[in-house]
């Protein structure tokens, strides 16, 4: 299996603070990969670099072999990389369905985008199918702000699927979600993965990671500590050290 999205020797400094020093990661096409590490190890920063929200100070990010190191978030998404956020981000004042329609990737001229009604019939049908898939179709007309926390996580995932991205980067998808919904989420990810989607998941829930991922990368103090199967990672003493000795400052 070839690498679909990869980071090589990536570093990032904020002012004097070195958030990432040397970080390499490779996600094979069709895999579900995990990214773990103690708080402050730079997981979210890495996500931000991979999706264009931050610019890497050094190193390179590649998607399908092409560099996307300097691409904007809009561009990264258009190339087929979708992401969710650690704290769920939705358009709270838009309805659930409208949230789905924002992501529609349609290449049309500026004038048409102004004059045409948002969401063609086909797009609406597709959006409703995806809402069905995550179990939210009954709430389509509700403002997204009225959803429960777990429902928001599901909606956030569903909005990405509208544009049919090849890779999905999920930042702590289970945080604050009740066990029933976690199971539902796991199922959906497996299903999508079978359909050919590649995943990279940041997670603290070890059970979830170990159960789901084919391969896990451990970040520690801005460096990749190791990459391996869940079993290898579990067995590595360095990982345990990293977690035990991990600082409890805020996640960057």
């Amino acid at each position: 299996m070839s690498a679909l999205i990869e980071a090589e020797g990536v570093g990032k400094a904020f002012g004097g603070l070195q958030a990432l020093t040397d970080c390499s990661l490779s996600v094979a096409e069709g895999s579900v990969s995990g990214l773990i590490g103690p708080n402050g190890s730079g997981k979210t920063t890495l996500f931000n670099l991979m999706t264009g929200y931050e610019r890497a100070s050094r190193g390179e990010i590649r998607l399908g072999g092409e560099s996307i190191t300097r691409a904007t978030p809009e561009r990264v998404f258009a190339l087929g990389v979708g992401r969710t956020f650690q704290i769920t981000r939705l358009f709270f004042r838009l309805t659930v369905l409208e949230n789905m329609l924002v992501a529609t990737q349609r290449h049309e001229g500026w004038l048409r985008s102004v004059l045409r009604v948002a969401g063609s019939a086909a797009e609406r049908v597709r959006a409703l199918e995806l809402l069905e898939f995550v179990g939210l179709s009954g709430l389509a007309a509700r403002p997204a702000g009225e959803l429960s926390y777990g429902q928001r996580k599901l909606l956030e995932l569903a909005t990405l699927l509208v544009a049919d991205p090849a890779v999905l980067l999920l930042d702590e998808p289970t945080a604050g979600v009740n066990p029933t919904l976690i199971n539902q989420l796991t199922e959906r990810i497996r299903e999508l993965n079978r359909a050919g989607k590649t995943f990279l998941v940041v997670e603290h829930n070890m059970e979830f990671v170990m159960g789901l991922c084919h391969q896990v990368t451990v970040l520690h103090q801005g460096r990749t500590l190791l990459t391996g199967t869940p079993e290898q990672v579990r067995a590595d003493p360095a990982v345990l050290d990293a977690y035990l000795g991990g600082a409890d400052d805020d996640d960057l």
């Binding site: 809009e74 358009f91 985008s113 102004v114 948002a118």
Partner: protein, 340 residues
């Protein structure tokens, strides 16, 4: 408000009919004069809201485009030797286009910033343009400029301006309506709610914001031109007036920021009442106190603007149990179309 399409069509038809016959019924020059100014502000508030209300970027510098429209019409009319009369109205779209062109560089700079910083940059632009109008040679400086004055009779003068402005208003409203229901409009709303996430979903935010900004500047420039022509005189401090910026924002807020008809309602109520009260009671010493107090009362009783507050009342009256999201209190009943 979520009305069924037939009801909505009826409402629109009624509004257009009222717009058409108003000056024939209330034909006194006092009311038609107030009506012209009110229409001018309705256009401005509606256009402003198309950008600011939808994107959440509270611009307080649209007087730049108002003033540029005013100066464009006046300068062109004078230099191209337009005879006073209907011909000058042909320059109104030109005033809009020039305002739109000026909105491109100013928008590019201002839209790099967000929130309060954006607000202050737009204010700064307003003062820069005002000072430029004072200091540059071709603007006539502090003595201002005078467009040709039409020799229409008392009976037709206001009417002609009224109907021209009414047409601009209809066009502006149709434009905002098209934008609101379009994909572009949805992208604007997504920027208002969460710009970073919108980017992550492929929305080209810089392009969308700038387009909306420029689009909203055009009608403002057009009414700026009409205003100059109607008054027959343009001075820098009135063309580029910080109070204009504050007024259109207040109108949109009081009607309901981001709603389709709220700003129209806000401008209708605020400008006409303000002019009426000033002419009627302005010589009373307590005028300012009462005006301010009434204003306060309205804001305190309708804290979200007229349209959203009314919607809230209606939906409560329909005895729906109030549904509260875990983090976002209150029903977010924007006039956005839900699924049909």
């Amino acid at each position: 408000m979520r009305l069924r399409p037939p009801a909505r069509a009826l409402l629109v038809a009624t509004a257009v009919a009222i717009l058409g016959v108003f000056p024939l019924i209330f034909s006194s020059p006092t009311s038609t004069s107030i009506a012209v100014f009110t229409l001018i502000f309705m256009v401005a508030a509606c256009a402003w809201n198309m950008f600011a209300g939808s994107s959440g970027y509270i611009a307080l510098g649209h007087a730049v485009y108002f003033g540029c429209g005013a100066y464009t019409l006046t300068l062109l009319a004078n230099h191209l030797g337009f005879a006073a009369g209907w011909g000058v109205f042909a320059l109104v779209p030109v005033a809009g286009i020039v305002a739109g062109l000026i909105a491109v560089p100013t928008g590019l700079i201002a839209l790099r910033a967000r929130r309060h910083t954006f607000v202050v940059i737009t204010i700064a632009f307003m003062f820069i343009f005002q000072l430029a109008a004072f200091n540059l040679g071709f603007t006539g400086g502090s003595s201002g400029l005078q467009p040709p004055t039409p020799l229409w009779s008392v009976d037709t003068y206001n009417l002609n301006f009224y109907y021209v402005t009414a047409v601009v208003l209809l066009a502006t409203f149709v434009l905002t309506w098209l934008v609101r229901r379009s994909r572009f409009g949805l992208q604007l709303l997504s920027i208002r709610d969460d710009e970073e996430r919108a980017r992550g979903l492929g929305v080209r935010v810089a392009r969308v914001k700038l387009s909306a900004f420029v689009l909203s500047a055009i009608p403002v420039g057009m009414v700026g031109g009409i205003y100059a022509y109607f008054l027959g005189q343009i001075f820098p401090q009135f063309a580029f007036d910080p109070l204009f910026d504050l007024s259109i924002a207040l109108m949109a807020f009081i009607g309901g920021l981001g709603t389709l008809v709220g700003p129209l309602l806000g401008a209708l109520v605020l400008e006409s009442l303000q002019q009426y009260f000033t002419v009627q009671y302005g010589s009373s010493q307590a005028y300012l106190i009462i005006y301010g107090a009434l204003f306060l009362v309205v804001v305190l009783l309708l804290p979200r603007g007229v349209i959203p507050s009314l919607e809230e009342l209606i939906s409560r009256a329909r005895a729906e149990p109030p549904e509260q999201g875990p983090e976002e209190p209150g029903r977010t009943a924007d006039t956005i179309e839900a699924v049909r």
